[in-house]
């Protein structure tokens, strides 16, 4: 403990290479937050159970609180900060905004990245599939219904670009208008 070993890692985060020396025990979540200064990745449990820290590691959604930074050596990470491209929100981000898929916003980055992975694997999911795919992500505010709406919205947007006003919700609900 007095002279902790440091290991050099090369991790590409949102397209930017980060070469750093880290302790072997450093969590990927802390690497992203403390070293890369990307604080959009949140920690809620440090036990893989809440999913707030979900990021994409080589395209796979992982809980970055239980991945070590050294395990991510050589990998490409996408965090919530890297999702919007050229000032354009990712359709899943847009869906969360349109459908009121968040309240306090703390679980939201992880929830959005879990949604992104789902739509990569299954572009036309049913509501049940969406709910199932988000099982690893806890939200205490929304009650999930609007989150499912949000991912559904994104799926429709991605399936029929552009503009084709996709219906945000399958159920009776208020019309969503832009502020």
């Amino acid at each position: 403990m007095n002279n902790p070993i440091h290991i050099k890692v090369n991790i590409k985060v949102n397209g930017v290479a980060h070469q750093q020396e880290v302790e072997p025990r450093m969590l990927l979540a802390h690497f992203l937050r403390d070293r890369c200064k990307l604080t959009g990745t949140h920690l809620g449990c440090e036990t893989t159970l809440c999913g707030a820290c979900t990021v994409l590691l080589d395209g796979q959604a992982v809980k970055s609180c239980t991945v070590l930074a050294v395990q991510a050596d050589g990998a490409e990470i996408t965090t919530i900060e890297g999702l919007a491209k050229n000032g354009q929100l990712h359709p899943v981000q847009q869906g969360f905004w349109e459908c009121h898929g968040l309240q306090c916003g703390y679980c939201t980055p992880g929830m959005i990245l879990a949604g992104v992975q789902l739509l990569q694997r299954s572009p036309h999911p049913t509501r049940e599939e969406i709910a199932h795919s988000l099982e690893g992500n806890l939200c205490r505010c929304t009650g999930y219904s609007h989150i499912i709406d949000a991912v559904d919205f994104a799926a429709r947007q991605m399936a029929a670009p552009p503009p084709a006003k996709a219906k945000a919700t399958a159920k009776a609900g208020p019309k969503i208008k832009s502020a």
């Binding site: 968040l102 306090c104 199932h132 505010c141 009650g143």
Partner: protein, 778 residues
């Protein structure tokens, strides 16, 4: 008032202005804040529920690389004062609540020592090197056993586990029970719950030695109350203390408190002359952030055979835990106040016993005492219907006050502001297809299925509250400033943390001022900006905070009208204000807008005599009464005989929170509230064993609802304005949690009723339901 001048933002389901930062990872929660030279604190907590501390060895921890200091109770307790409770009962026996344990620990999670180090890893390493010699002492974790004569004592020096008794007695109970044809009794356990906001608590204190001022950033719902209360603890005067609630990741009442760590980090920042940050772990959050509910009640209800409910009598034990946090003793008293539900009772009596045990303190968790009341009365209504073979809808209707009877004085001494309980019930029944649902149930039962239908007709108390019923003021403060550029800054003393008032307050301000929403910024959560406030809890922010803002706008418009009259060369009375423009009545072509008026008001070269420059106003709104939202939830379920699992087939929610500023936000609040109820009914329970060990200290053992547990909703509303504020709004933050729990529970117990199961206590886990089914089989 100003709200009536609408250009159409109020009432629309607009998406939120706070969302772009949140969906892009650009928001700043507590742990995202970094101050130069900041240190990290980590707390060592007791693994024992009750023990004497014989010694604490900190030498090895102090020698750990990166460690700046290690402190125990003897080092800091005097300087950190006593954690306040704003709701102690007049004759309550209360232990002194210091920030760190002194010579004893009283619950698992009780903080014993704090390490301050250069980084969080070093701080946690050092924690492992602290050696505490504990001598285990007898534990009491069951509040009923705690009242036995030979029980171990939570705080031996108090001589008893009974903290207080409190009685609510309204109406002539004896007469009501004499008049009754039947008295129906039921014991109900309102299990202990853990709020589990996804962002744990945390704080960051920064001392400015030159100015002798302290800034405390803290993940709280109540920065203003913290600023009111913390000075007495740490000796920094109120006017030298700034409290900031940054982005806050959920509260649900658990961050409506002043906690040990806030005082401790403040003190350490002053002592070490460096910013000190503490971030709670999930296990700490489960064991040392307040819990909710935890009452055990014996209830009796007096009824006539036609279903007229005469009176309710309750004897309830509230498990306070080991200490009184901010509102601990007050929470179960709210249960008594709401025990008559939506019904015209003649008498209510509640005898409440507040009991100490070796557990974390209970306090306000979403609903705060009201869910217990609504669950009780709505379960009782179903039990009455079952025992008297009456229709459960009809007996509810029979006991409702009529809409014309409002304001309605309840048997518990409250005055419900407005209501149309029949209307919400009727609408919910229509949406549920009640008659068809009953037919479906009959067919399902014939086929051997356990099919249940449940409803609850609820009323709750919101917009807490008039100052006479609050410990430190129940008003809310606001400020509206037309900046020199004509842009608008709205400042609220409420502290939204997910509820969306940056949007809803911009909507109502934009309409009242006649400006585009994009021109408005809503600021909150920083006592240096929002000078005064009473913050966000008790579904109060929109009703009381929103009204304060409208009062400001009235003042600003009046001032602008005076300036406009001067500039237009007319009398004030002749000036018309419409959609953001001031003009002379009858000559609408010559108008002055906010931009021109603001420029004149601040440049101040051409202003009326005695006109104060500037264009801003602040207001305190003191509400004349609480508000009483209500509604009906109807639920259909099927219970598996084989596994005891519950499947929700239909969920109908009709809620009445008065006029809605933003129906999308209302829907979100209701859905979120229902999810808390689903958790309470189906899974959640904080479990302490007989040794006071918390067995549900992680998400692994304390299951929150997940996306797959959520039914499809059929949601609608009725609109019954409140007379207590100019917008007529009522509040909706806790409605879902209050209305849904009994509806879901009633549905499940209805499903089990053909087996002869009368009542089961929550949570109705598959195991509990399965065991109950098995018992009836044999």
């Amino acid at each position: 008032m100003a709200a009536k001048k609408s250009n159409g933002y109020v009432g629309r389901a607009l998406k939120r202005v706070e969302d772009p930062r949140l969906i892009q990872g650009l928001a700043s929660y507590l742990d995202d804040l970094i101050l130069p030279g900041q240190l990290h604190a980590a707390l060592l907590r007791s693994p024992y529920a009750h023990a004497r501390i014989n010694s604490i060895k900190t030498d090895a921890a102090r020698a750990c690389p990166g460690v700046v200091g290690v402190f125990v109770g003897a080092d800091v307790n005097q300087a950190c004062g006593v954690i306040p409770c704003a709701a102690l009962m007049p004759d309550q026996k209360a232990p002194q609540h210091t920030v760190l344990a002194s010579d004893r620990v009283y619950f698992v999670g009780h903080p014993v020592a704090v390490v301050v180090a250069a980084d969080r890893y070093a701080a946690r390493d050092a924690l492992d090197l602290i050696e505490v010699d504990y001598e285990a002492l007898p534990v009491v974790s069951d509040p009923e056993k705690a009242l036995a004569k030979d029980s171990p004592l939570t705080h031996p020096h108090l001589g008893t586990n009974l903290a207080f008794t409190w009685t609510l007695a309204q109406g002539d109970l004896a007469v009501a029970f004499r008049q009754a044809d039947r008295v129906i009794k039921q014991r109900m356990v309102h299990q202990r719950l853990i709020p589990m906001a996804i962002e744990p608590r945390g704080c960051l204190a920064s001392w400015h030695p030159g100015e002798q001022t302290l800034t405390l950033y803290t993940s709280t719902q109540i920065p203003h109350l913290v600023r009111t209360l913390l000075p007495a603890m740490i000796g920094v005067p109120e006017n030298k203390l700034r409290v900031v609630a940054p982005e806050v990741g959920g509260g649900f009442g658990s961050k409506l408190n002043l906690y040990a760590e806030e005082a401790l980090c403040s003190h350490l920042a002053m002592r070490l002359r460096a910013p000190v940050k503490w971030i709670e772990t999930r296990r700490e959050n489960a064991s040392a952030t307040i819990h909710g509910r935890d009452q055990i009640g014996e209830y009796e209800v007096a009824v006539k055979k036609d279903g007229t409910v005469l009176a309710v009598k309750a004897r309830s034990i509230a498990d306070l835990g080991a200490y009184n946090q901010l509102l601990t003793p007050a929470i179960p008293t709210l249960t008594g106040s709401m025990l008559s539900g939506c019904y015209k009772l003649k008498a209510v009596r509640m005898d409440l016993l507040g009991v100490y045990t070796h557990k974390m303190a209970t306090d306000a968790y979403r609903g705060a005492g009201r869910p217990e009341a609504t669950y009780t009365i709505e379960r009782l209504m179903d039990l009455i219907a079952a025992e008297l073979s009456l229709d459960r809808v009809q007996i509810r209707q029979k006991n409702f006050p009529k809409p014309a009877e409002f304001p309605f004085n309840t048997a518990t001494g409250l005055t419900y502001d407005s209501g149309n309980y029949q209307g919400a019930l009727k609408k919910a029944q229509e949406l549920a297809g009640w008659t068809k649902l009953l037919q479906q149930q009959a067919a399902a039962r014939k086929a051997g299925a356990l099919f249940g239908i449940g409803l609850s007709t609820y009323v709750e108390i919101c917009a807490l509250g008039p100052s006479k019923m609050m410990a430190a003021g129940g008003w809310e403060w606001g400020c509206v400033r037309i900046e020199m550029s004509g842009k608008v800054t709205v400042i609220t003393g409420a502290t939204p943390h997910g509820q969306g008032q940056e949007t809803s307050f911009a909507q109502l301000s934009a309409d009242a001022l006649g400006v585009p929403m994009e021109d408005i910024v809503v600021m909150r959560g920083d006592t240096a900006v929002a000078h005064y406030g009473r913050d966000t809890y008790g579904s109060r922010a929109t009703v009381i905070g929103g009204t304060a803002i409208l009062m400001c706008i009235d003042k600003v418009v009046a001032k602008a009208r005076r300036l406009a009259a001067h500039l237009l060369g007319t009398k004030e009375k002749q000036v018309e204000f419409k959609q953001g423009h001031f003009s002379v009545k009858g000559s609408p072509k010559k108008t002055l807008g906010w931009k021109q008026l603001a420029a004149e008001a601040y440049v101040a070269k051409n202003i009326p005599k005695d006109f104060e420059p500037g264009l801003e106003a602040s207001s305190f709104f003191e509400p004349p009464n609480c508000t009483y939202p209500f509604g009906t939830h109807i639920v259909a379920v099927e219970v598996s005989r084989e596994t005891g699992e519950v499947r929700i087939l239909k969920y109908v929610a009709v809620d009445d929170c008065g006029p809605q500023i933003n129906p999308l936000l209302v829907e979100g609040q209701v859905q979120g509230g229902i999810a808390h109820s689903l958790g309470q009914v189906l899974f959640e329970r904080a479990v302490y064993d007989e040794n006071g060990q918390l067995l549900t200290g992680e998400f692994m053992d304390y299951p929150l609802p997940r996306a797959k547990d959520i039914p499809e909703y059929i949601m609608d509303s009725t609109v019954t304005p409140s007379p207590s504020n100019p917008m007529g709004i009522k509040g909706v933050g806790e409605a879902g949690t209050i209305g849904a729990t009994p509806a879901i529970a009633n549905a499940i117990l209805d499903a089990l009723s053909p087996l002869g199961i009368r009542h089961l206590d929550l949570p109705l886990t598959p195991e509990k339901v399965w065991r109950a089914i098995q018992k009836k089989k044999h």
